[in-house]
Amino acid sequence: MLTGTIIYAIINSAILALTAIGFNLTFGISGVANFAYGAFYVMAAYGVWMLIHMAHLPYPLAVLISISFTTLSGALMYRFVIVRIKGQTLSEVIATFGIGLSVLELFRYFGFVGFEYTLPVFHDKSFIIAGAYVDAQRLFILAFAVALIIALWLFTHYTHLGLAFRGIAQDERTALTFGMDPDRIASLAVSFGAGLAAIAATVIVPLGSISPEEGYDVLIKALAVCIIGGLGSSGGVIIASVVVGFAERFTDSYIGSHWTMIVSLAALLVVLVIKPSGIFGKQKELEERI
């Protein structure tokens, strides 16, 4: 039982990290808190579903098209909405939340609610690991999350674009003097974030189902993990995912399932009280600013 709980806690941590990493990347680079993040996640999942069931495309092609479309949608949102209010944090939050709300409620309005909205697993098999049955999809998610985190680290440390991302994130004005275009980089960051939400959706949704509510849940979880870890900190997101992932599964196993959903929110409250900028947060607290 304990071994099984630990295995599922590790997998849950990977799911949380995948869920939050796109939101964190966008905020860390562009400073935009993309509250339409959950809507992008759900849109990508519905996109794959529609391409498979309505356009009868093969699963891998549907996944590729949906991820590309969602990534493009992120760029379009930046180009036509966010760019005009850039720097006004409250306006950015209201605008992106409004867009997210519209997308999710449109899916509900057009009847995209029901158990049939689910995606097939990539490989239909179970394995016994230390006495616990684990399905192949969960093991794939774990491996994929690790690979994605490593790939993102390599990207931001060894490619021109990745270095530009980090440059803008560290100091926008200095980066500007080196010829980097903050608007272009911010546009790419929002679009990358949307793409990562889409990637997360396509690998995680086969474990569950697609619904407009999922968009709100994903946003809340991404926010909780990012705030606990420290907004903009990739290391923080990973640590926070592990903390929340383990707390959720252990609560589920040893306290009760109905307490699981409030664990991340309780952890969020505790962190905000003790260290408002999060575990690895870089925003200066009041005493530091003074």
Binding site: M1, G4, T5, Y8, N12, R108, G111, V113, G114, F115, E116, Y117, T118, P120, V121, D124, S126, A132, Y133, D135, L207, G208, S209, S211, E213, Y216, D217, R249, D252, S253, G256, S257, H258, T260, M261
Partner: protein, 427 residues
């Protein structure tokens, strides 16, 4: 010649319009408005509304409802009150019901709220406007208690759907069958954290399991929207339970069965999981649901039996009209039947005046899609095991070839319960 052409081309059609069509519109009686306030975005509400539309089209196609000396057509007005969606507050659902009553002036409401919390809260609004309501989804027996406490005030509320007490009767009957055939007596109860499911779990624990010598080795409540059951399934495996009893009506609950299958938990799954009721579940859940025993709350909701011929006719008519079979195991059967029950009550009353219609609804005694429909003094349709005497529900099992076999009650049974691979009988 030109004059003759003019007569045929313009004058004759105009005369035909004047003679036949205009008088029909001028002198036709106003339609009887039926209000359908429910969660139309959810499967049960969506298919329930279609079932109402089907019944209305059948009745209208046969000339309408006889009200006194005139025949009047039914007209359906629906509103999505969204009470099934997580996080939607009950007052929002109540506003939707009140809006429908005030704006469309319905003679009766059908289907009604999805969540029991919304049903109980809406009873005062319905009593205030004196509109008869024939519920088809919300299941709490609390509404019946309220009617019994003040029958004059709440006499307008009826329910054709199964209530939580009758569901317990069916679940208990199935557990009794499992116990007698296989000797199992250890159960783990999993329920959604909503009023009807909590109540059902509570009643079956007290009224059946404890008295029948079963051991409830564990019980878990899951918030609506939960989509990971792995920790609980590990607990169940460790607990030594032989039967898992799920009680859920959320779309995500089908994942529980998929996980039960992939984690190879050696237990019989028997209870209610709404997404597993209809024939489409086999494909949706990747053919991983074989062996599961599931409830159909009312005959005609996603399943039919030759022992109830009207249920077969209804399911065929539904599929013919809408192109897809019914998938909801709760709602469409009573929603369809409620239109006929209402039509017959109006015809007997000879008016659509609510008190007169209610007086006739109480006297309902009709053989239909659900079996024999009669109401008790809590205005609940009586459910039992014989379709000739009462309304009936059914328990069926998914077979390894993707078919559904009714296993309970014995009056409708098409086969015996088969244990899934890896689980053996204690007898």
């Amino acid at each position: 010649m030109k004059e003759k052409q003019w007569v045929f081309r313009y004058l004759l059609p105009a005369l035909l319009v004047v003679i036949f069509i205009i008088p029909m519109n001028i002198f036709a009686a106003d339609p009887i408005v039926i209000g359908v306030p429910t969660s139309t975005g959810f499967l049960e509400g969506k298919e329930g509304l279609k079932a109402v539309e089907l019944a209305v089209s059948e009745i209208n196609g046969a000339g309408g409802v006889k009200v006194g000396k005139e025949k009047r057509l039914f007209k359906v007005e629906s509103i999505d009150i969204r009470d099934a969606a997580p996080g939607v507050p009950v007052p929002e659902a109540l506003l939707g019901i009140e809006k429908l009553i005030l704006e469309k002036k319905p003679a009766a409401l059908l289907i009604g709220p999805f969540r029991s919390e919304a049903l109980v809260a809406s009873m005062d609004i319905i009593a205030k406007y004196k509109v008869p309501m024939l519920g088809a989804i919300a299941m709490t027996p609390a509404s019946e208690e309220k009617i019994k406490q003040d029958p004059e005030k709440y006499k307008y509320i009826f329910r054709l759907a199964l209530n939580a007490k009758y569901l317990v009767k069916y679940l208990a009957g199935t557990m009794g069958l499992i116990n007698s055939e296989f000797g199992f007596n250890k159960v783990y109860i999993l329920n959604q954290d909503v009023e009807w499911a909590r109540k059902t779990a509570e009643i079956i624990g007290q009224a059946y399991f404890q008295k029948a010598g079963w051991t409830i080795v564990g019980q878990e409540s899951f918030p609506t929207g939960t989509s990971d059951f792995s920790s609980t399934l590990m607990k169940i495996r460790a607990s030594g339970a032989q039967v898992i009893m799920p009680i859920f009506d959320m779309p995500q609950s089908g994942i529980l069965v998929k996980q039960w299958n992939s984690m190879k938990v050696p237990c019989l799954m028997a209870g209610f999981i709404s997404p597993l009721a209809g024939p489409g579940a086999w494909k949706t859940f990747d053919q991983k649901i074989a062996g599961t025993i599931n409830s159909i709350f009312e005959m005609g909701s996603a399943i039919s039996s030759p022992k109830v011929p009207k249920s077969v006719a209804f399911l065929n008519a539904y599929e013919k009209r809408f192109g897809n079979p019914i998938e909801a195991g709760h709602g469409p059967g009573p929603a369809y039947e409620s239109v006929y029950v209402l039509a017959e009550a109006i015809e007997r009353a000879g008016t659509i005046e609510s008190d007169a219609v209610v007086a006739e609804l109480i006297k309902t005694n009709r053989q239909g899609v659900l079996g024999q429909v009669k109401f008790d003094n809590g205005h609940q349709a009586v459910y039992d095991m014989n379709p000739q005497e009462s309304a009936v529900a059914a328990m069926f099992q998914w077979t390894p070839d993707g078919k559904r076999t009714i296993v309970f009650p014995t009056s409708l049974a098409e086969g015996k319960i088969q244990l899934p691979a890896g689980l053996s009988s204690l007898k």
